[in-house]
């Protein structure tokens, strides 16, 4: 297939074909990171800006490494060094950056729709690196890539997503992509963290963690979104941990070949116990590794076209 999109804003927008095309492209990039010389000239002469208005370790490093391994030049701007603190609007910041002719801008922002706003006014490719509680498309792509790698398929699986579903962009993006491929999804968390109307997305809600993970093929754990008021929705993290912390006992009731995922950063002892995080079912570090390949694919498809 031919890639036609200028931007990557939402998973909800993407067809199955598009998603698989990205995963297949990522497949061919995964090797590069294992070579001694981890660099190909594919995006030489291209410039990628990461514009992060929220803290990030994984996503930003992952994008930067992905771009560098494709020989693109990268520039990082974080909220502490941007003009936002001087009162410049996001649009003005973006227009100024555009004047320096970048090819892609990866934006992370605390407010839903911020990447869409930029996509509408800029010629550069915009990649949504996470916008508030809305979407985090590259996370869902790397999660699906990891599922395919471990399970050999991306459909017909029973997936339990556990935690603060209401405020999680990772949950939203994963629900959209996993539903698209016809998986069974169980959303689990305290009722205060389950958004109203979630059943309209074709998912099942289960408040009891034990029931939610029983016979699950995939367990996705989420952290409490403290920066989005997450702790207001529960009496205490201690109580949360008792009710929704994933233990080895839970994992033992899941499918034999269950995989446990987490987008990071993990709060050990809160939503996930050490023996699970470091246990045999955990694919958390594989997710991070695959993130680089998937983001290389996304960058390549968006800006690698005709050089």
């Amino acid at each position: 297939m031919n890639w036609k999109r200028k931007d990557l804003l939402d998973i909800r927008d993407l067809s199955k074909e598009e998603i698989l095309f990205i995963l297949d492209t990522a497949e061919s990039f995964k090797d590069i990171s294992k070579r001694e010389i981890k660099k190909v000239p594919t995006l030489r002469g291209k410039t990628v800006i990461t514009l992060f208005y929220e803290p990030s370790t994984r996503t930003r490093t992952s994008f930067e490494i992905a771009a560098k391994r494709l020989s693109a030049d990268t520039i990082n701007i974080s909220s502490s060094t941007s003009s936002s603190t001087k009162g410049e609007t996001l649009k003005d910041t973006a227009r100024n950056l555009e004047s320096m002719r970048p090819d892609a801008i990866v934006i992370r922002h605390s407010m839903p729709g911020a990447p869409h706003m930029l996509a509408a006014i800029l010629d550069s490719s915009i990649i949504n690196g996470g916008d508030g509680s809305h979407e985090h498309p590259t996370q869902a792509l790397l999660d699906l890539y990891t599922i395919r790698e471990k399970k050999g398929r991306v459909d017909g699986l029973k997936v339990a997503i556990v935690g603060d579903i209401a405020h999680s962009r990772v949950a939203r993006s994963n629900i959209f992509s996993l539903k698209n491929f016809g998986n069974e999804i169980i959303c689990c968390g305290p009722p205060t963290m389950i958004p109203p109307y979630i059943e309209t997305l074709g998912v099942r809600v289960e408040y009891d963690l034990e029931k939610a993970v029983r016979k699950a093929d995939v367990i996705m754990m989420l952290r409490i979104q403290k920066e989005r008021g997450g702790t207001k929705y529960i009496p205490s993290t201690k109580e949360y941990s008792t009710l929704y912390g994933l233990t080895k006992k839970h994992v033992d009731t899941a499918a034999d070949d269950v995989i446990v995922m987490h987008p990071g950063p993990m709060n050990r002892g809160t939503e996930i116990m050490d023996d699970v995080a470091d246990g045999p079912a955990s694919v958390i570090l594989d997710q991070v590794e695959n993130g680089v390949a998937v983001r290389m694919a996304v960058l390549y498809l968006l800006i690698g076209g005709e050089a």
Partner: protein, 426 residues
Amino acid sequence: MKTLIRGGRVIDPKTGRDGTFDILVENSVIREISDTIKKPEGKAQVIDASGRIVAPGLIDVHCHLREPGFEYKETILTGTSAAARGGFTTVVCMANTSPVNDSRSVTEFIVDKARTEGKCRVLPCGAITRGLKGEELAEIGEMFAAGIIAISDDGRSVRNAGLFRKALEYAKTFGLPVISHCEDETLSGGYVHEGTSSLLNGLEGIPAIAEEIIVERDIAIARYVDAPVHITHISTRGSVGIIEAARKTFRKVTCDTCPHYFSLTDEATLTFDTNTKVNPPLRSKRDVDAIREGLNKGVVDIIATDHAPHEYTSKDVEYDLATFGISGFETAFALSLGLVRDGVLDMKGLLAKMTINPARLLGINAGTITEGAPADIIIFDPGIEWTVDRGSFASKGKNTPFHGATLRGKNLLTMSGGTIVFNELK
């Protein structure tokens, strides 16, 4: 000065008149309505209204003119120009100006400014509480003497139920309508309707119950003190149901809704277009259907605009940060005429909700074409198709979610108090 309006189909909901008549206006008053009126001797202008509908000038019980204090958003001149263009001859402007209209001097300023610059009649609404802070009553009697027509803390509810009770009681002295914006701020605090669209776009939601709980509360208080209460800009199925049920035993409840609440659903917010950000928010299809049904069954008495103009920069930001509000004067009537085409209301029923019903709420002599009434008249054509172009708005507020939409029905001439203030009649 005499004006003869000839050959139009005159529809007047108050008297039930519907037929082809000539209307003679002398100075600011409707002098005569007859099958045919001869052109009077001497200086007189004749307007050919044949093929058009002639109706009372529209009355808006809820708008924001932004002056004093926010002249970069709107002024009394630009706001009333937009109103005139949209077919309104009387508008009630809310108190959330800067300074707040909570004192005689601010009311006087608005009244004076409107008298010299206004293109239509401006009736200020005073604040219920000082500074709209919800802590103590504003000097309602002083403002009444200066010309307010109603009181409201629009923009928020009077959080303190005891204070709202006192406002309802105190307003009785002056016969002032109390207009209630219903919103429980401990439940709202979001940016869009909490529903299937907020689930998809991740924007913080405002649940329907944030409105409904206060609708229920304010009616209960009004019933207890036996005072009339007007619930403004209702947007949910629950609000329609509560008001319908309450009316069976307590008749002093009236309410209005706005064109965006029966024309758009929350799906419009999926594009993150900040012009869809309004409070109360655009609701679900189910709510929109209920509002239309409420209009049809007469539960919703009045259509108001909640014209809320904003400067471009306040909307040209992230959705969360954008201001709430829609610039509504220049699209309200065309959107409302859609209700007639959709069979929700007949023409007379629609016009009643925009003329005589608001006039009754406000207790003013307007909203009717009868001999001796003020010459507030519009001439419109329900068949004309036009495309909304915010650039052509008379309002400073270009914040409309209807930009580029094709609407049917257009106001062509507005006469306010005998003076033609808008004329596009060819």
